[in-house]
Symmetry: C2
Subunit: 178 residues, 2 copies
DNA sequence: TTCACATATATCAAATAGATATATCGTTTT
DNA sequence: AAAACGATATATCTATTTGATATATGTGAA
């Protein structure tokens, strides 16, 4: 596979906002990033080691007198330049893996009821996620003057717009199957 | 990682419609499936071998007197049952990896113009894809009476609904950034 | 006839997912 | 006060997937 590790950009991007541990990075991915990307420990920790080796991130000394081992990373100026070059690069891979759709696509091997049930499960999940996003939006709209918040806001809007489209589709799909 | 190879379901699903070679499977994934899933030769051929070993697919003899090597597979009744069990199983992983959104999320490290350009590239791609989907829809609506076509139709509708939402979001995003 | 392109199988290294092992810390329950 | 529990934290392993490449044949056009 080509030299093109996407998790590196997630890590550099998050470190451009804050100094973080690998565990922190995982938490942020599962939080604000999960709308459009994901990552596991199995990719985060090895990536952090290699980024350090190549000089894109730096380990902050933080031996505050014995206690839980904790490695806080910060981004270097080289890391920032790599991140910026990636943001400027126009090519981007956008793809989704929707098992629900696949189950529906091959729905012919099972009953219509099964198809409807799969749509229902999907709908419930989306409704729950949409509620969370709407709370995010309400909160962030109070603090939109801060520069970086605008970009976060845009991704929230993306989530809301697409999730509403999913719900519309669920209704249409039900009608088509009926 | 858990015993849970999704490519197996893509293969079994496609073989439940038709007997196909590995190459055919790849073509169908890049065609009708690509809206919600993808797969590469590097996963298809090994999966076909294992599915054959476990008795879910069968190799059809087709030595039609010398010529290009060609291995046509068909699904067995065991394979069909595995496919059906998977369709009945409610749990489904739905996730997207949108590099455009990630570039936007970390847009603060670059200029607003870069962010707008990334949105523009994304928009052009979606517009092109949407056109194709609308042609698909028009064609399939003429043949909706055939049982299996309904499920294909639903995935097309899903694509159209979400792509239209993406375009709406592009316009909103432009306004927010302005 | 040569060139490009589509068909077709197969394999490899790099990247990722998902699970698990290990250990510490803080809070709550017994 | 001890035990139990869940959150924090690093690290590693295997299975899976990607994306690229190697190899070879068939087909149509210049």
């Amino acid at each position: 596979m080509a030299k093109d590790r996407k998790i590196d950009m997630v890590i550099l991007g998050l470190l451009s906002h804050d100094n973080l541990t690998g565990y922190d990075i995982k938490k942020q991915i599962d939080g604000s990033i999960r709308l459009f990307w994901k990552g596991s420990f199995g990719s985060i920790y090895p990536a952090l080691s290699e980024l350090e080796k190549q000089g894109s991130v730096r380990r902050l000394k933080n031996n505050d007198g014995g206690g839980r081992e904790k490695i806080i990373y910060s981004i270097t100026s080289q890391g920032k330049e790599i991140l910026r070059a990636w943001v400027r690069d126009e090519k981007a891979s956008n793809d989704l893996k929707y098992e629900t759709l696949m189950k529906l696509f091959f729905g012919g091997v099972e009953s219509k009821e099964t198809a409807l049930r799969n749509i229902e499960v999907f709908e419930e999940q989306i409704k729950a996620d949409l509620k969370v996003l709407q709370i995010y939006r309400a909160n962030i709209e109070k603090a939109l003057d801060e520069e970086d918040h605008v970009y976060f806001y845009l991704t929230i809007l993306f989530g809301i717009e697409t999730y509403e489209a999913y719900l519309k589709w669920c209704n249409k799909a039900r009608k088509v199957l009926a």
